[in-house]
């Protein structure tokens, strides 16, 4: 068990270093001189000296390998440099926006789990009935609906409904307050984006729950339990669901990382000032230091959530850690 855990944790480092190398290489593929872009975009004229200063500042005049080691060392100390756009340290830019994105992500996960596991189970138990068909259609539609469109439509619905009920349209506020300061205001900001992202997430998990459940229900030990005369609910909760949830845990974990991708678009729709929106701004502004830092943050979250999934899996399924 410990051997497995340690080797699995150690595997994180080569992946992260590889990802850092990839990000580093990608950002060096930018055509032209970053400093020219940076100085030119201000609309002011610049001198050869300021160009050289800029080069030295970014460290672009040094050999690639040294630049990369610097980059890695910076990552290790959470020092991502300064935003080329705002001039503030990148870590500050990210840290101020991180809580809201995290809250939306966690909430979307909760919504997804609450919707997916019961619906997926019911769908499997009632296989090939109209209930099953309905749940499956709901989940395939979830995979097909663009999150940003769902966001626009849900805002539209909220506007129309509040107009009809209260007589004046209501929009969720956009200035973020932490949950513990003003829970109602906080939830009214976060709820719609979380639902929008949660739907797709739920769709994926629902399909997984259904197919895992169907597989488990065919196992011999379920038949044994049934033959023993155990009541149906006990068989489903204790025997079937417990084992069927293994692959579901995997999907939820893997999708959590990809949720951050969904945030990029959804935060734009709802005007949320999170890291997804920051990512779009950084790409629009050609702020390479910010872009590369944000990509690294997202990749790290992805790699770590994969790690958590694997460890959880080993804990839940003895066959893996003993193999």
């Amino acid at each position: 068990m410990y051997r497995y855990i340690i080797s699995r944790i150690l595997l994180v480092f080569p992946t992260l270093i590889g990802a850092a190398a990839l990000v580093f290489l990608l950002m060096r593929l930018v055509p032209g001189d970053i400093c020219l872009v940076r100085l030119g975009s201000g609309g002011t004229s610049f001198t050869q000296a300021s160009l050289a200063t800029c080069h030295a500042e970014i460290g672009i005049d040094r050999p690639w390998i040294l630049q990369f080691l610097d980059f890695l060392w910076g990552l290790a100390r959470l020092d991502f440099g300064k935003s080329m756009w705002s001039g503030k340290p990148v870590i500050v830019e990210i840290a101020t926006r991180f809580p809201i994105s995290l809250e939306v992500a966690v909430m979307a996960t909760v919504i997804a789990v609450v919707i997916a596991i019961p619906l997926g189970t019911i769908s499997a138990l009632k296989q090939n009935t109209w209930v099953d068909l309905l749940v499956r259609t709901f989940s395939i539609a979830g995979l097909a609906t663009p999150a940003f469109w769902l966001g626009i439509v849900s805002i539209l619905i909220v506007l129309d409904v509040t107009q009809a009920v209260f007589g004046h349209p209501w929009m969720p506020p956009i200035d973020y307050v932490p949950l513990w300061q003003d829970p109602i205001r906080n939830l009214s900001i976060v709820m719609l984006p979380a639902l929008t992202i949660g739907y797709r997430y739920a769709a994926v998990s629902m399909r997984m729950t259904r197919s895992a459940m169907l597989e488990v229900l065919r196992e011999d030990y379920i038949r044994t339990a049934r033959a023993k005369g155990l009541i149906r609910r006990l068989i489903i909760n204790r025997h079937a669901l417990k084992n069927a949830l293994l692959p579901v845990v995997t999907v939820i974990g893997i999708e959590f990382a990809f949720l951050i991708g969904g945030l990029v678009v959804t935060e734009q729709v709802f005007n949320l000032n999170g890291i997804g929106r920051l990512m779009v701004l950084s790409v629009q502004n050609q702020d390479y230091t910010l872009t590369q830092a944000l990509v690294m943050v997202v990749v790290t979250i992805a790699v770590l959530s994969n790690l958590v999934v694997d460890l959880l899996y080993a804990w839940l399924d003895p066959r893996i850690r003993l193999a």
Binding site: T15, G18, L26, A144, F148, G261, Q268, Q286, A302
Partner: protein, 304 residues
Amino acid sequence: MTIEIAPTSATVPVLVDERGRTPHGLWGVAATFFRRQPVGAIGLVLVLIFGLAGIFAEWVAPYNPTSNDFAAMTEAPSWAHWLGTDQLGRDLLSRILYGARTAFIVGMTSALVGGFSGLVIGVASAYFGGRLDLWLQRVLDIVMAFPLIIMALAVVSIFGTGIQNVIVAITIPLIPRCARIVRSSALAIREVPYVDAARALGYGHTRIIMRHMVPNVMGPFLVIITAFVGQAILAEAALSYLGLGVQEPVPAWGLMLQGGAEEYASTAPWIAIFPGLAIMLTVFGINLFGDALRDILDPKLRER
């Protein structure tokens, strides 16, 4: 003496009718598919409607998708404009029909290029094994750690926007996802005795790969490619919506939802609703078709 080894096995795609017969000809296959997979057939019809609309947009579209008509701005759906007009007086139906072309060009190109690159990498990795496999897997692990849209954003931030760059940006993250799945199917095939037999007969790598390995991973490969088309269309829409994908004046569904759609959402909701509906129906159709395809190609799943 030469011995021909039939490059077939149980995993080769099969579509059989109720009596277990394999249909012949395009119409026969289509008829059997419609009978056996009615839901998948609905999906196929949806995809065909949008696909054909994209191909024949010039003939089907009632208006020029890029010509403004300031006398008819944000008009509600009517006989003159079936789906209404946008904030510049452009006919929404025509823009959606032309948008289908953009969506399918990006979707199909990314899925095919990404899929085939993944196929080559996946099969090679499984067939040659050893150190190559190990290194390739590590590299794929790294690329897979980037969520699709994040990788696409990073690529766009470097090469810029526009339809070609969007295709590149979406293709790159698809490659490892395909390679991974193809590799796992190919690994199983490599252990099958007829591959050993082919090797013992002294056949070259190319021949074994092309005649014995590739046909046997076609099933899962086709299923992935189908799913990729849907994912790529969604990714293109997302990028265009963010203003980092296809640029005006090219009609694209995601682009149609940008800017105007939100601003006019309460007064002219059709601007926001119809392009999104087009994306949803297309991807929905692709997913339904893909599920049916998987049921046909993977007999193990047929009971589910």
